[in-house]
């Protein structure tokens, strides 16, 4: 996540997504002895195949089509990005340590990291200029939420898991298609083009 804040090359962002997917897969494998087999198989396959392979592959394709590689102008210099992201991370870990005494259900490490991931992603969405990096941050946020659901010692019902997976996947797919369309329509992927609809002129 820190790397995500610090770098501006979009290919690197997608590599991070792959790494996150694999990490989640490992966490699933290690930490989930107590859930039933079907759900376990489903979760591992989901994280490995969808999160680490399909979505990044799809984004690579979009990237190649749109020829945009660098989110050059973030609002804030990288150094400050890094500092803010680190602070948020620290906050996440502290918050989780604070709550560990009250609740036994949560594994504090995952909880802290996932809270930090969600907040950092939301914040990065607001400062990035290219819409494709917004999509990537959206996916990292979903990863964070997934980790949060893992950190709760109880699992979600199978059907809900399946639905969530499907929805996220389709959402990414549709967003990817829109990225293509916007590229065609505006010849560029700057967020600032998308500000025509407003009430004040």
């Amino acid at each position: 996540m820190l790397y995500l804040a610090a770098t501006s090359r979009i290919i690197a962002h997608i590599r991070i997504l792959v790494a996150q997917g694999i990490l989640l897969f490992l966490i699933c494998c290690c930490g989930m002895e107590h859930i039933d087999k079907l759900n376990f198989a489903f979760l591992t396959v989901e994280t490995l195949v969808v999160k680490a392979i399909v979505i990044p592959w799809f984004l690579f394709r979009v990237l190649r089509k749109t020829h945009s590689n660098r989110d050059a102008a973030a609002n804030i210099p990288h150094f400050y990005c890094l500092v803010i992201a680190s602070t948020l991370m620290l906050f996440g870990v502290l918050a989780s340590n604070y709550y560990i005494s009250t609740m036994k259900l949560i594994s504090p490490m995952f909880f802290g990291v996932s809270v930090a991931t969600i907040i950092i992603s939301l914040w990065l969405i607001t400062i990035k200029h290219k819409i494709i990096s917004n999509v990537i941050e959206f996916i990292t946020m979903e990863n964070g939420i997934f980790l949060l659901s893992l950190s709760v010692a109880k699992e979600m019902p199978m059907l809900v898991n399946l639905g969530v997976l499907l929805d996220v996947f389709i959402a990414v797919y549709i967003l990817g298609l829109f990225v293509n369309e916007i590229n065609k329509e505006f010849n560029d992927l700057e967020v600032s083009h998308l500000s025509d609809l407003k009430d004040y002129e």
Binding site: T102, M103, L105, I106, I118, L122, I125, I131, N134, F138, M141, E142, I145, L148, S149, V152, K154, E155, M156, P157, L159, V160, G163, V164, L166, D167, I170, A171, I174, L175, F178, E181, I182, E185, F186, L194, D196, L197, D199, Y200, E201
Partner: protein, 472 residues
């Protein structure tokens, strides 16, 4: 019964994709609308059974009835609207396909008995309606669709965080079904529950169009084709609202009512305030209607917080019918004048009497002119506020509503009366035959219903509303 209502559109979708014929596709949408309505009537008569994960209960019955009726009316309007569309058959087939999926996911949201399933289906409504908003393929519509998918997806992701927090607060219970949550809500950990309520209210509130997360709504409603705007405003917002109502009930049982009420009041008044501020500077009449939707959703939130549930349900019915008819009429205006700019439209009554008067009467219905159903509901809400001693809130409520009323009224009257400029007259002449009978009838039916129900509510509907109250 319930399985039919959910399985039929899937079959219809496949057929629509296979047979790409304009007439057939529209026919399938109409068939589903009729089937939907018939089954809903049967369910109202108590013929329904529940199937796993989906059931009809006293609360969602009235929501389903409203959805079903609005969908039927939209389908009638749509068969007139599609005739004017000059697109290849393939695109029309995708359009019909997405309408079917959209209505299916809304129906599923209403009927689901499990918070997780509701979440999945609410997200499904976002994804299916995104294509419909992008249907016209202009720069503006892609911008609107992008904002819509992005904001709503993030909102819904936040709601999922809320669900996870709720899962933490439930302790030993490992289920998200509403019945079980209600049964055990008293033992929930309140700190986590409060946290989860914020996330869920914000997430589903984004979908419902409550103020801090309402930005997608004017864009999406303005850029979507008019029948879709009507569906979005009159049905989609309600289904997100139902989820909030159900979560609110958990809070009520868990003794966190005051906290939840405060949140709802805050978001409700913020919605009213935002509408009151923005409604003056609007240049596009469809955006104006969208802001009015935000206002009415705010009123629903306030009513829920006050506990005036009877008024809330009346308001919900009235708003759905009146707003659907308003949006459809705006579709007629768009067909006639070929523009969404308020400045370029005047002399509507002179151009097309029926559309003009429908525009004015829809406005009267939405602004709670007496004997409109909205008049009764808003009156009851104000009465409730006075009874509970919230005099300042009551004054603020009335003031904001008046400002919004004036803002909309000014525009509507300016558009309806006056004279047509000469260059516009030519365009109208050309477009006159585009607006067919099917594009007036649904509005007339709905407006008659709104004004009649303000005076006389049939006993069986009254019973349904009374039953629904118990579920709040």
């Amino acid at each position: 019964m319930i399985s039919t209502i959910l399985i039929f559109p899937i079959i219809a979708c496949i057929l629509v994709l296979l047979i790409q014929n304009k007439k057939f596709n529209t026919f399938m949408v109409n068939l589903y609308a009729i089937l939907h309505f018939v089954i809903t009537i049967l369910l109202v008569n108590g013929q329904g059974k529940s199937i796993p994960y989906f059931a009809i209960d006293s609360t969602n019955l009235i929501f389903l009835l409203v959805l079903s009726f609005v969908f039927l009316m939209v389908a009638i309007y749509n068969s007139g609207y599609v005739k004017n569309l000059d697109f290849p058959a393939k695109k029309i087939s995708h359009y019909s396909f997405m309408i079917l999926v959209f209505v299916l996911s809304m129906t599923g949201t209403l009927l689901s008995t499990d918070l997780g399933i509701s979440w999945v289906l609410v997200e499904a409504t976002t994804l299916s309606s995104a294509y419909l908003i992008y249907f016209n393929r202009t720069k503006h519509s892609i911008e609107a669709a992008w904002k819509y998918v992005f904001i709503c997806s993030i909102g819904i992701a936040m709601a999922f965080v809320g669900i996870i927090l709720l899962n933490i607060s439930t302790g030993a219970i490992n289920s998200l079904s509403f019945a079980e949550l209600y049964n055990n809500a008293q033992n929930f950990n309140t700190i986590w529950l409060k946290g989860s309520f914020i996330f869920m209210l914000f997430g589903f509130g984004a979908k419902m169009g409550l103020a801090p997360a309402h930005f997608w709504l004017p864009d999406a409603h303005a850029e979507a084709p008019s029948p879709i705007s009507a569906l979005l405003s009159a049905a989609l917002l309600n289904s997100a609202y139902l989820v909030i109502v159900r979560v609110y009930k958990i809070m009520e049982i868990a003794n966190c009512t005051n906290y939840a009420r405060l949140m709802l009041l805050l978001m409700g008044f913020l919605s009213l305030f935002v509408t009151a501020v923005f409604v003056y500077h609007i240049k596009n009449y469809k955006r104006m209607l969208a802001y009015s939707s935000i206002e009415n959703m705010g009123i629903l939130a306030i009513g829920t917080a006050l506990g005036a549930y009877y008024a809330v349900i009346l308001h919900l019915i009235g708003h759905s019918l009146a707003k659907a008819s308003f949006f459809m009429t705006s579709g007629n205006i768009l067909e006639l004048f070929d523009t969404k700019r308020i400045k370029s439209v005047s002399g509507l009554i002179q151009a097309d009497g029926k559309t003009g008067w429908l525009w004015v009467v829809s406005f009267l219905a939405i602004c709670a002119f007496p004997t409109s159903l909205l008049f009764i509901s808003e009156f009851l809400m104000i009465k409730e506020m006075i009874l509970q001693g919230h005099y300042i809130l009551c004054a603020l409520f009335a003031l904001l509503l008046t400002i919004v009323l004036f803002g909309i009224g000014r525009v509507v009257i300016k558009m309806a009366f006056g004279k047509i400029s000469e260059d516009k007259a030519k365009i109208i002449e050309e477009n006159q035959n585009k607006v067919c009978k099917l594009m007036y009838i649904p509005q007339i039916i709905m407006l008659i219903l709104v004004f009649v129900m303000g005076v006389y509510i049939p006993p069986f509907i009254n019973n349904i509303i009374k039953l629904a109250q118990t579920g709040f």
